[in-house]
Symmetry: C2
Subunit: 160 residues, 2 copies
């Protein structure tokens, strides 16, 4: 988005509000080493404590803490379920709020494949109905795809 080459002099300070932004709030909710990974488990249908723990290698005490926080913040729900012929247990599943992180999660995964991993990971995201591979893109209000280089931040006009 911002293009550092576009002006030869440096703005002393960007003319935008900053610390109290949406992104800062978001990092409060999921900006730690484990939360996003736990949510990824939920995306893929893993809902049991011990499965998550094994998959991620997260210490029990941290997992317990993170699950409680994600539930408290409304990203996960703790719900009873019963597997065939087994007793009732509790598992965690995504709420609407948690499910809506999918775009972020997919965008970050694609970034990592391109710039960190340097290869495609073992999982792709496809359209359930057509089977076609999906990617994340910027679109304008008429549904046209716009390359990310053309995106720039703009202070929203308040009604005052």
């Amino acid at each position: 988005m911002s293009n550092p080459e576009s002006s030869s002099t440096v703005r002393r300070r960007a003319p935008v509000p900053r610390a109290d932004c949406a992104l800062a709030q978001a990092t409060e909710e999921i900006g730690d080493r484990w939360s996003l990974l736990i949510l990824r488990e939920a995306f893929f249908g893993v809902m049991r404590y011990d499965d998550i723990r094994e998959d991620l290698g997260i210490p029990r005490s941290v997992l317990t803490d993170r699950l409680a926080k994600l539930v408290a913040r409304g990203l996960l729900e703790k719900r009873p379920y019963r597997e065939a012929g087994d007793r009732q247990r509790f598992g965690y599943s995504l709420t609407e709020k948690g499910r809506n992180l999918a775009l972020t999660f997919i965008a970050l995964t694609h970034w990592s494949e391109a710039h960190v991993l340097g290869a495609l990971g073992p999982i792709e995201i496809v359209d359930q109905e057509t089977g076609r591979g999906l990617r994340v893109a910027l679109v304008d209000d008429e549904g046209r795809i716009v390359p990310a280089e053309r995106a720039v931040p703009k202070v929203r006009v308040q009604d005052g």
Copy 2:
């Protein structure tokens, strides 16, 4: 993406590789309380140590450490610059790798506005050329926009 209502029995374990995924790599690079926020500053053109520190309220020792890590990992570059009539200084600017996090960053910001903040933040992302507001969407390989609910994970077929 995953729909917890779609099957009445719970899969014991999701049939997908997990911990060694792209997302885990990505959280190594930017999954702490400050890195994303620092990159946001860079997106908005803030490149000076003390400006970042003031904006975010981050302790100096932590900022120094994060900047060094982000440079080491190739998300930021430390470059000399000179303001009119001032001595040469050093500032930080995004690399291509860092700039490519824009989609993730925008997606997360929109999520936070919708689900955490409950209101639009002070900044919108617009198309530099048309001025139109932009949002993040999933598109298929023919450029058609697909609603996020239709996105499902699928194990990629390896060549073996």
